[in-house]
Amino acid sequence: MPKELWKGNEAIAEAAVRAGLGAYFGYPITPQTEILEYLSRRMPELGRAFVQAESELGAINMVYGAACAGVRVMSTSSSPGVSLMMEGLSYIAGTEIPAVLVNVMRGGPGLGNIAPSQGDYYQAVRGGGHGDYPRIVLAPASVQEAIDLMGLSFDLAEKYRMITLVILDGSVGQMMEPAEMPPMQEAKRKGFDWATDGAMNRERRVLSSIYLNPHDEEQTNFRLLKRWKDAQASEVRYKEYFLDDAKYIVVGFGTAGRVALSAVREARAQGIKVGLLRPITVSPFPYEALDQLTGQAEAFLVTEMNMGQMLDDVQLAVRGRVPVEFYGRPGGVVPFHDEILDEIHRIASGPLAVQSNPRESWLARMTA
């Protein structure tokens, strides 16, 4: 198929349709409304289900219902709307059924603003909803990657019977890039052996997240964790740039990662041995790749559009062996590449110490 110029949000919508999306439930919120708007035309045209719910709470619980019936289902929202969905998300996790939720993140906390942000990393990766549950989180940095990851998100959700979140900042949603769509898949239920899709001529099935006996709930938690171990072993994805001989390693996801790429290229042109690792799955996180890179690295630089959230995961991988430094722009500010280039210069001119909390020295530099 030839490349077309796609806007991120519309590309996500069409890619989900192509992946066999059977039902969509959502509620408008900037900067993701184009997804809902696009699907409000597209889904009925294909005879598939589209409902603009009365609220985000309604939408996520409709997702819950459709997921129980074995339908490929998703919702999309932006930060404050995603917060409203957390109860439902936890129920879906506890019921061990697949569902996809896209968060086009905006500046926060609170009502915040509608500018691009990565402030919901913790919420996505650490859980957000109550209870102890793992979740797969994909973080596209371009329109093509967003398209590719939409298909993957459904496959992974179904393979691991797990929530898959796709988190992108508003700029990926609003950006246009040439991209290629995958072929169209039918929206067909796959006859999952757990789905409550009509008990004619078979035993009835019950799907629930209630385990009143704590020992049963404990077994459920163990089951979730075992499944998560499989996902960790097989599903880590990331992209490497200039890492072969890199002494300084920048780590950034989504837009912060691609802004860092511009800085890394310019630093390379100046003769600085710097590379970039851009996680594509932020959960499971590429701990092992970073662990191995710690052998060659003199220092790491984590760049994010928040106050240092993925930073924790990089520090978990590096385990204090070499300095990990941080540069972030929270609140809806997108960094320019020269800001990250300045940080690369600072790190390459050393000396640096291993700090337990690199946010403190970052904050001191930012507010000096």
């Binding site: 110029l5 950006m175 040439p178 691609r258 511009s262 800085a263």
Partner: protein
């Protein structure tokens, strides 16, 4: 090769579509391209701008602080991007909407009366295409014919009757800017 372009003006001046024409033309020429908008508080009447990056390889940042190329369709955009332009860069200014000449040395400021040219063609909304045509004098990677073909291939069918005037706007903008370049001291 990588070129960054910022197009800035009031909402309603066709800033975003002007950038899309460049993006389509770049894509059809086999380039990597990103187009990213940013709005002021309102879509109409506020300031709007978009950044287009054209390259031969995977594009890093879709935003740029100091672009080598920019179009300023109104005075606030002229004030802003005359300062921010990269040294040696080219700024196309909609002369119809500004009341001053260039201040900064070391950059090329090309004045084009986009509104008047568009009105002469018979549609004042074409001012963005006049400016894009002018910009192409500093962007050899995209020819006027490439921009025309992009419009032809990607404009919705219901707008196809507007093509001849759009083509004229591109050509007139290009020709006017070319004359300004010829006048400028080497």
């Amino acid at each position: 090769m990588q070129k960054e372009i910022i197009i800035a003006g009031f909402g309603g001046q066709g800033v975003l579509f002007g950038g899309q024409v460049l993006a389509y033309a770049a894509m059809d020429n086999g380039k990597e391209v990103t187009w990213i908008p940013s709005y002021g508080p309102e879509m109409r009447g506020g300031t709007a701008n978009c950044t287009v990056v054209i390259a031969d390889r995977e594009i890093g940042s879709p935003l740029v602080k100091n672009p080598p190329l920019a179009i300023a369709l109104n005075l606030p955009s002229f004030d802003k991007y005359e300062e921010l332009l990269a040294p040696g860069g080219t700024l196309i200014v909609n002369q119809s909407m500004v009341d001053r000449g260039a201040k900064r040395e070391g950059i090329h400021v090309i004045m084009v009366p986009c509104n008047e040219i568009a009105e002469e063609i018979g549609d004042r909304k074409l001012l963005n295409m006049v400016a894009v045509g002018a910009l192409l004098t500093a962007l050899p990677e995209i020819k006027v014919e490439d921009a025309e073909k992009a419009l032809e291939d990607h404009l919705p069918a219901r707008h196809k009757h507007l093509l001849p005037k759009n083509f004229e706007a591109l050509k007139r903008g290009f020709a006017h800017a070319q004359k300004e370049w010829d006048k400028a001291p080497a």
